[in-house]
């Protein structure tokens, strides 16, 4: 029955397993997320996490359902969402987020991720502080009229599988390891003389010389004309990308220089253990280079030769991995710990390790530490998405003063314009921001009436759920840290605030 269940899951999740693999799926199934506010946006986000099989969700919502079905929103939403996937466990808490923060802030410590939707600024700040000290990632989402907003708050998020676009191969042609050198010597190509001091061709001119060297190597037929050889053509085409120098990126260097990498304790996570093991390798056996990745691209060759070449890289990668493993084990022993060694299997990603660190909400909002320069320079273009950010901050201010958002009822729209304008001005003044917020935006935000159109909620629901999946699976790099979507112009932007 266990195996039947497994097959059913494989069938159901087939199309997504092809994207994030079984280990990604496992991470998803072990996650428990909390949603605050089962609004249109909130339920859309959850739907997009439940369908792919997140382990569990808990909805926190104190609102009552109005109309025919009198009851609790949290419960109703949970029941509907539960129908989407019987593998997922749903829970609900009929309580407002503020009450919960008053009575039991530690309630939030159990979650892998907390998603706060349509929260007033004060609640956001309170929750942000609790989650920041507890080390729980917090994703803030908002649909406001034709504007979508997301803010990621996570102290430190590590990524091994960042899946970069256009990653270069790790062929080591500039510094062939012994086994590769020996393997190449076993081929009987006429030797090419060593004219260039063992340096790679650096510019276009040198690369052309190199290409000609290759062309000269092509066999000629009886008439002296070069044969058509597909493998030589391929070699010439790949000169640009195959000859990249073997060196460690500054991103990875920064990771090596982090204090977490230096000070290994019994609290050290698997990521930092791995980073330290790789660093030790680089500084010793690797002679300044990372462990060999071990994969080579498909190429035109006969099957036997290709497999042999592939094995040379694969064997070296395994050797290097064993050395890294030894380093890691010695650190583990020194702090008296045992770690699941499955996590060490991603050494082929060593060149693409990433760490994301977001500023806290407190830092974003404090007049001492807010990103004045970023905001000012963005606002040089007065229609930049940054103006929408300032408007969202302004409507939050309005809410604080009037306990409601502007223009919710038609009769309020006109009179709220001047009130909202005051909020904008006081916001700018308090922060010493001399930027121009056009009246058009003030009018627009009044007309929005804090509405949550379903179509914008659908868009944001998809985007937010995808970021949540990145955080949970630790694959791909989440945004850092503010995302604004403008549904009118169909544009978006990210800022680090």
């Amino acid at each position: 029955n266990m195996s039947e269940q497994k097959t059913n899951k494989e069938q159901r999740y087939d199309r997504q397993l092809r994207l994030w693999g079984d280990h990604g799926q496992e991470a998803l199934e072990n996650a428990h997320t909390c949603l605050l506010n089962a609004s249109a946006t909130g339920t859309e986000i959850l739907k997009n996490l439940i369908l792919p099989g997140i382990g569990a969700f808990t909805i926190v919502d104190g609102h009552k359902v109005t109309g025919e079905d009198v009851g609790n929103k949290a419960q109703a939403a949970t029941e509907f969402l539960q129908e989407l996937n019987s593998d997922v466990s749903g829970n609900f808490v009929e309580e407002s987020p503020d009450k919960l923060l008053d009575n039991d802030p530690e309630f939030f410590h159990r979650f892998s991720l907390v998603i706060g939707v349509q929260l007033p600024e004060s609640t956001c700040q309170r929750l942000g502080a609790v989650l920041w000290s507890a080390g729980v990632p917090f994703l803030v989402c908002r649909t406001y009229g034709l504007v979508g907003y997301m803010r990621l708050v996570v102290k430190e998020h590590t990524v091994v599988e960042s899946h970069p676009d256009n990653a270069l191969e790790d062929l080591r042609l500039d510094q062939p390891f012994t086994e590769l050198r020996n393997h190449i010597s076993s081929y009987h190509l006429d030797s090419m003389d060593k004219k260039h001091n063992c340096q790679l061709p650096k510019n276009y001119k040198e690369k052309e010389v190199f290409r000609q060297l290759i062309r000269d190597g092509i066999r000629k037929n009886e008439n002296g004309a070069p044969e058509e050889e597909e493998n030589f053509d391929e070699a010439i085409k790949n000169v640009n990308t195959a000859l990249n120098p073997t060196k460690i990126s500054s991103t990875v260097d920064d990771i090596f220089n982090c204090v977490q990498c230096e000070n290994i304790t019994s609290q050290t996570s698997a990521f930092w253990m791995m980073a330290r093991g790789v660093r030790d390798f680089v500084q010793n056996e690797g002679n300044g280079s990372l462990p060999v990745r071990g994969t080579i691209p498909d190429m035109i060759a006969d099957s036997d030769k290709f497999i042999n070449l592939q094995n040379v890289y694969r064997e070296k990668a395994l050797q290097d991995a064993a050395v890294v493993s030894k380093h890691i084990q010695s650190h583990l022993q020194a702090v008296g710990k045992v770690i699941n060694t499955n996590k060490i299997q991603f050494l082929h990603c060593a060149a693409f390790l990433r760490v994301v660190r977001c500023r806290s909400l407190a830092e974003e909002y404090s007049t001492d530490t807010f990103q004045k320069d970023t905001i000012t320079s963005c606002m040089d273009s007065p229609d930049s998405e940054m103006v929408l950010y300032l408007m969202l901050r302004s409507v939050d201010r309005f809410y604080q003063q009037h306990s409601r958002y502007p223009g919710v009822y038609n009769y309020q729209v006109e009179e709220d314009i001047s009130k909202l304008k005051l909020c904008v001005n006081s916001l700018l003044q308090e922060h010493g921001l001399s930027v121009n917020v056009k009246d058009d935006y003030v009018h627009e935000f009044c007309r929005y009436g804090a509405a949550e159109p379903h179509t914008v909620a659908s868009f944001l629901g998809g985007a937010a759920a995808q970021e949540a999946i990145k955080l949970i699976t630790h694959q791909f790099v989440p945004f850092n840290n503010t995302f604004i979507y403008n549904a009118m112009s169909q544009t978006s932007a990210t800022f680090q605030l």
Binding site: N8, E10, Q11, R12, Y13, D14, R15, Q16, R18, L19, D22, A40, E44, K47, N48, L51, P52, G53, E83, L84, N85, S86, G145, L146, E228, D302, S303, D304, F306, I307, N410, E444, R447, Y448, G449, A451, E452, P453, H454, T455, V456, A457, S458, F459, L460, G461, G462, A463, A465, Q466, I469, A487, M488, Q490
Partner: protein, 423 residues
């Protein structure tokens, strides 16, 4: 445009609730789109899809549940939407949009058409119908993490076919039959073989060596000479593959030896083909039996993602032939099987046959997972991408309707002014 947002301007809100729209496709994008449409206030929706629900749809096509597997997508989508929006007026068609019943008049009855398709033929067709009927079309598509939305309006934007799209890859017959050089050639060959043995025989899906291959002849006259077969191949020429297979009782060993030994040996006699290519190496059943399991396949990876050795695929070939043989027998006389990537023995058969051929032609063999991707043209898909795209589609739909209103308003005002002016 700002008046779009709740409340929509009176005119736009009226237009939304009164207009009639067509959604072509009730799959990944379609489900999300139907939901967005009704929650935005669209009332009169027709949806069409020829497909039925499969288990692998359930990770994203949320209007469907396990109990609906096998039923019509359009029909179940309609029923599920009505559960949360009983006032919607939805008509569902379990049919192909390319059916001539859906003529220009049919398309003209809508104010807007939205595609939620997964294939070019249907997209081209709907594009032309919308141009002919002069109805705005919103085109969209998703694959993995990527998606796009485009508005197509006759006389205003370019249509779907204005820009040439990369053509669907097809391979010449002699590549499939004689000189495969990539795994996909072997996979296509294996699918053809399935049809020749168990399904509907197709003259364009021959699997035996192609003696008329222009590359094979040293002299043109030789082609004719080769066309009169050698000893080994003689019988097969005059009898269809299926008939021959039947005459052996679908004996897996006989099939194996013909396809992976005799036919390959025949190819080897066409020596010009192998002057510049690595020649294929025939297999022998007796030798395959000697081979044990590859020790390297012992790891924790999903069974589907392992690559077996040639002995393993030989055994898989045998088992799948035996299973398919009984499936065929159960169906009775003159029966045919239809290949389906989600039917395990059919998928096993293609995996085994393709890999055996890959090995013969010196290619690295592929796991069942990878073969399924290629054989089944599988495109990875998740809920989030479809949700994002469907959100964008409805926003564009509102803009289209709104601009139609603006245009109407302009026309109306002109009418009002004119009589006054003429006085």
């Amino acid at each position: 445009m700002v008046q779009l947002v709740g409340p929509l301007s009176k005119e736009l809100a009226d237009s939304v609730s009164s207009c009639k729209i067509l959604v072509v496709g009730a799959g990944g994008i379609g489900c999300e789109l139907l939901k967005n449409l009704v929650l935005t206030g669209f009332k009169n929706i027709e949806v069409i899809d020829l497909d039925t629900i499969d288990v692998s749809n359930l990770n994203r096509q949320f209007l469907f549940q396990k109990k609906h597997v096998g039923k019509s997508k359009a029909q179940v989508a309609k029923e599920s939407v009505l559960r949360f929006c009983p006032s919607a007026n939805i008509t569902a068609y379990h049919d192909s949009i390319m059916n001539p019943d859906y003529n220009v008049e049919f398309f003209r009855s809508f104010q807007l058409v939205m595609n939620a398709l997964d294939n070019r033929a249907a997209r081209n067709h709907v594009n032309r119908m919308c141009l002919a009927a002069d109805i705005p079309l919103i085109e969209s598509g998703t694959a993995g993490y990527l998606g796009q939305v485009t508005v197509i309006k006759k006389g205003v934007t370019e249509c779907y076919e204005c820009q040439p799209k990369p053509t669907q890859k097809t391979f010449p017959g002699c590549t499939i039959r004689n000189t495969p050089s990539e795994p996909i050639h072997c996979i296509v060959w294996a699918k053809y073989l399935f049809n020749q043995l168990f399904g509907e025989e197709d003259a364009d899906q021959e699997v035996s060596p192609d003696t008329a291959d222009p590359e094979a002849a040293w002299n043109p006259e030789d082609t004719a000479a080769r066309a009169t077969a050698s000893d080994q191949d003689g019988d097969i020429k005059r009898v269809s593959t299926k008939d021959w297979a039947r005459s052996t009782g679908y004996d897996p060993v006989k099939l194996f030896n013909k396809l992976f030994k005799d036919d390959i040996m025949y190819l080897l006699t066409m020596d010009k083909l192998w002057k510049k290519r690595k020649a294929p190496v025939p297999l022998d059943w007796a030798e395959m039996l000697q081979l044990g399991e590859d020790p390297r396949t012992r790891n924790s990876r999903l069974k589907d993602q392992q690559v077996l050795n040639v002995g393993g695929y030989s055994r898989l070939f045998q088992h799948s032939v035996e299973t398919l043989r009984s499936q065929l027998a159960d169906k009775g006389d003159g029966a045919e099987l239809v290949w389906d990537k989600d039917d395990p023995p059919a998928m096993d058969f293609v995996t085994a046959a393709a890999n055996l051929r890959m090995h013969i032609f010196s290619m690295n063999m592929k796991s069942r997972f990878d073969v399924k991707s290629m054989a089944g043209n599988i495109i990875p898909a998740i809920a989030t991408t479809n949700a994002v795209i469907a959100g964008l589609i409805v926003l564009e739909a509102l803009k289209v309707l709104n601009s139609d209103i603006q245009q109407c308003r302009t026309v109306r005002e002109k009418h009002i002014k004119a009589p006054v002016k003429s006085h």
